[in-house]
Symmetry: D2
Subunit: 401 residues, 4 copies
């Protein structure tokens, strides 16, 4: 899972992309990057490991001029955590600079990559997304749109994409619609992003969510809906609503916060805890669920755990120092709340929400969801990845800059 | 306001100090530092601008050996934000290395500094705390304890201190007791810290809070209560309970969380809002107050604002990008929650808690509190600082390391 | 012009490559890099802008394990000075990792690149050397040697190459032999380098110079001479002897120092200066020539200019400071030497060595030299590079690591 | 031994100080620093470990405004190599900012420091130079000049000093004149520096060398000779002429190059080598001596060793790589030169120049030289430094900036 954003028609587009990535940081903390395209069509890229706020600074922005930009925050689902895998991908091909930011997983990437390598394509990363870049570059079609279609016809799996070819921006959602993508208006320009919270932070207005199979071209002021990709059954990722997306976002036409509140209510119905003294959440991911549980059950809500707001990726765990409990670094119990209320805190029972309950809370037609993470029931074939070709042997590149 | 910690009798004391500072980060984000003292009495210091997690890493710890350490996280109430002002202060004087970490403000520092400079003392910082170091170094007393007392007799104002002279640790609270300081036990060693949350993170057990005027010496396993400083009326900082301290800490013998809950209940009584649809907090500082208000008023609690957990000090504000609302970088409203209330969100009325209500919530004898931040009623004389001496002219030092 | 090195059969080969690059630093200061291949055939790369000693440190070496390595120091003759152009190039292709370090210029690179891009190859750099990598990857031959030959048949111009395919090292000199390459023995392993000074620093023994058209394969202990490339007239770069190479190197079977001494003697014969008071060099590049001139003419040698040994690439020219002569930053005259001997130093006459004189000093058959830098008489066709294809539009990538 | 420079009356004085330090880099590579004083009398400092060109960049200069500056390049003769010991020292005292750069060694610093510490002075470094700062700050005299004299009366040993008090620059040489200091004119301003090569690089004209005991005050356009320090027998450091200073400098009224040439001639007279084939130097420190030897003996000069110009402090010695000779990293023999000459290069005899011969070459009255480095005959008492006071226990400070 990753966060992606595209911006056009706005001066200093890289700064808007930065803002958007900042609000999408929860979707990936491994690396982030922005490609900006200037008025001459020259594309410039900056990528780095770590958080958006660590990777970019004023100097970087001064090196990323232009009114077109795309950005990416990576959460590595597979492959190594190295800079080469950071996105957006940027390559020169015969149409000029091509930049691509991808949220999703391509299930047939290993086979496609092997084919491409046999034909002499040289890969710079171990990311499945680079397969798309090579397929586009090798297409024999004349128009960029057709080159993209050639490539998309070959890939299986999940992809929400923002792509620039020269100064034109494309926004694409795969036919099953696994991952969200929204279109917003900002001044005379346009913003495409994974979630509505990225529109909010930039002051953009939501125009619409992209539907599964949507293929949109944005050039200057013009937004064109190109013919949709061939239709397939929708398979929205239910985890987007349950965990990935921010509560203040609207995803798949639903308020994420409302879904999470409903999850709490469903849990209270399925797993009532009549003798309980209070309900509390592990902040902040289950705040809304605890509220829903409390509403439905009538059991009082408490804040029993305090979250340390300075917890970050650079924390050094002082293992040598001995008896310290690891969890206390992030959370510490509020003694009085827990003690008031018995002597020892312990788990007396543990209850889960059912898959059906989850889908009820998510609302709509339960068939439209992909719940493979829970059920193992994948909507697309997952090939046996053990037959890795020779070209995937470890290859590590570091750079001093 | 700052966070301080002292550790003795624990291998790799610097790591425990680090953990404690990490949990006290809310008390100051400008700079942080640790001084460690090894078995030979050699003292080593590392200080840096920024968060604890940015200033320290494994390499730094390897350079800070020893079983005695003190640490400091600075919040600059006055003076410039420069490395020279970061604490702990570390100086050689005739007893050997002297390290000092100070939470509080000395109200007669300008005059004392001027006197010392006239006598040939050379200051390295613009911090009031350095005055203490020079007073100790110039004392003609024989014993370190008496040198400290000589210095403390000269200063006015607020000071909670941890000091090392050689391998001995001193923990001191001024006679009015403005700032908290607690003593805890960890294995065979001791931990002194601004708040109990620093004991919790390190797995230490609270032994007692230091009382106003306490002067404690810790050497190896031994903790000695030296004669108390001359008594003065207590003036506990009420803001510690209302805002500064973490809710999971116990401060001035009170649960901070319980005080904040009581503040919410007091507000509900003083400023009822009978027609209100819901209660919500600006996360996370007013979470407990919102809960108290909801309990007392019976009005439903909601989570209407989502906090971005990646907000940090390095955020670059993209002013150029235009119409974006500044507040949205940190918080974003959950549209559905607020829209369920009416069409437009606006302030219809604004109600404050009274000073008396605040003290009622804080509990105990209201005379023991310092409420100067609210009332302007300072318990110690504040001298006219405009008569600055020539030696305070700007002097800036940078270093490349 | 660049420096290249290849190492096999020696533990920590990257360290030997580093030493060699260090002694070849005069051949290029823009960037440097090393690729190391471990016992499993995994290849790792580290490249950076600047001097060898700035780009590598202990940490980097720990990340470059293996007994096979190639290295490169780049001097940019064309193209932008960016990290993407630093070598060695490292790519995955169907045989596994391919690494390549190139000294020379390919004269038909622009046309080849344009063809490759049309076929869907994606270039990462603007360097002509990357063309070779793509040609190898696209070869349909079965064996790596044949893939290399396929590529070499397509390119025109100058190339001394060290290449690894898996754990096999190839050393190749183009049929005209523009650039030097030497083979040395170190313990049970082998070292290939641009100049003999790289063998000396590593303690390796010179085995032989590679001749024009040589194609050598080294695997483990075995060195195999593969069939030579199709013969062409030799065109050794005379500038290697006159300026590029280090005086302590043996290049094209000649002592560079002896050639430079001979240049000085030739100049003394062609351009005698009978009234001159002394001979002096601009240190250090013309030291040997001044000695030769002094020997031949009998005019006394002096050291009249002192070189600042700390001159480096990071020097900041303080233009604002005004009247300072630029040359004095690197050289300063020794007043007494120049004043002894008239009042004002000025140029009274200026004499150059003839092209024939230069070739006489270089020795051997003058037809074997390329003197295009002086005469403009290029041995290979130089295409009109102005017809650059669209894919060479500016594309800039920076990375934060 | 160190390099010092002072600049007044020149816009961007820090840049001129930088240039001067750059040309004085041979006098010390451990650390360097500059203090600049602006029109308001505000002093700013930047210091760092390493070479001048590594410590300063454009950003640093922008932080060092002002038309008065002093600079220092440190070579540590004693004490630890830590940033705290880098100069110039900068302190606030009652006259305002005081900055001091010192070339030399104070022989009674340990005793003075112990006295000062007993009186409550707090030291920041282990450098003897800081003693001077404290003595000045503790002087009860009214005028800065008298405060400086108070301090100088207390110290023994070698000191060439540049000091700023507010916007006034002082240049001082101790009565024995161990270390050089020269005064130059640049536009409407003044430059004081350790050697004339620093004047040359900045385009300044030599006005005069400071004589032993000189005490010069420069303020704006005015240069005042204050009364000389009480006279003592002169003891010029002969090593300045023999090794420390740059050949293009004039030191103690002598051309350094001429002295070194004379050293070679003396050696040829004292230690003739009648059967020798050639004379060669280890570049570059003995270049002039080899020339002198060749002149006097008639034996031919050769360049037999090639110096690697990229040798720097950051070189990583690849000990693991085995048989490489250490010396080859810096020098490599020119095979042909040495082989022309017999089969194996070996030392057949070794001859030194006598102390008398050295002084003859240095010229003038041999009694005026300090030759303690050779003879052990120190002109000032060297106290027993083993009685170190407690306050010199190890104290290490690192900083993250």
């Amino acid at each position: 899972m990753c966060g992606i954003i595209g911006v056009t028609g706005i001066a200093d587009a890289a700064r808007v992309a930065y803002l958007g990535l900042y609000s999408l940081q929860h979707r990936g903390q491994e690396s982030s990057g922005i490609v900006a395209v200037d008025g001459e069509g020259a594309a410039r890229s900056h990528r780095g490991m770590g958080l958006v706020s660590d990777v970019f600074d004023e100097h970087v922005f001064s090196e990323l001029p232009g009114d077109v930009a795309i950005g990416h925050s990576r959460y590595s689902t597979a492959g190594t955590s190295v800079l080469a895998n950071a996105q957006p991908m940027l390559a020169r091909y015969r149409e000029g600079p091509l930049a691509l930011a991808h949220n999703g997983n391509l299930t047939n990437a290993v086979q496609l990559r092997s084919d491409l390598v046999t034909k002499g394509s040289i890969f710079q990363s171990s990311s499945d997304s680079e397969v798309l870049v090579h397929l586009i570059a090798r297409s024999e079609a004349r128009e960029p749109e057709d080159q993209l279609l050639d490539a998309l016809e070959r890939v299986e799996g999940a992809y929400s994409l923002v792509i620039t070819v020269g100064r034109t921006l494309y926004a694409i959602v795969d036919p099953r619609g696994f991952r969200p993508l929204v279109l917003g208006r900002l001044g005379h320009g346009w913003v495409v992003a994974s979630e509505t919270c990225a529109l909010d932070i930039a002051g953009a207005t939501l125009v619409r969510e992209l539907e599964p199979g949507d293929f949109v071209r944005i050039h200057g002021e013009d937004v064109d809906d190109l013919p949709k990709l061939p239709a397939k059954p929708h398979r929205r990722c239910v985890f987007e609503l349950v965990y990935f997306s921010r509560p203040d976002s609207t995803v798949f036409h639903r308020s994420v916060d409302a879904v999470r509140r409903a999850l709490g209510r469903e849990l209270a119905r399925e797993q009532p805890a009549p003798g309980a003294d209070c309900v509390f959440s592990v902040p902040d991911s289950s705040n809304a669920m605890a509220l829903g549980f409390s509403e439905e059950s009538g059991i009082k809500l408490e804040h029993a755990l305090i979250r340390n707001h300075y917890v970050g990726r650079t924390f050094i765990h002082p293992a040598q120092a001995g008896r310290m409990a690891k969890v206390k670094i992030k959370f510490n119990p509020v003694r009085e709340v827990l003690e008031g209320i018995r002597q020892h805190l312990g788990v007396e029972s543990l209850g889960y929400l059912s898959l059906d309950g989850m889908k009820r809370a998510a609302g709509g037609n339960s068939a439209e969801f992909c719940d493979a993470c829970f059920s193992g029931d994948y909507p697309t074939a997952i090939p046996d990845e053990s037959k890795r070709s020779r070209n995937a042997a470890p290859l590590q590149v570091t750079m001093a800059v």
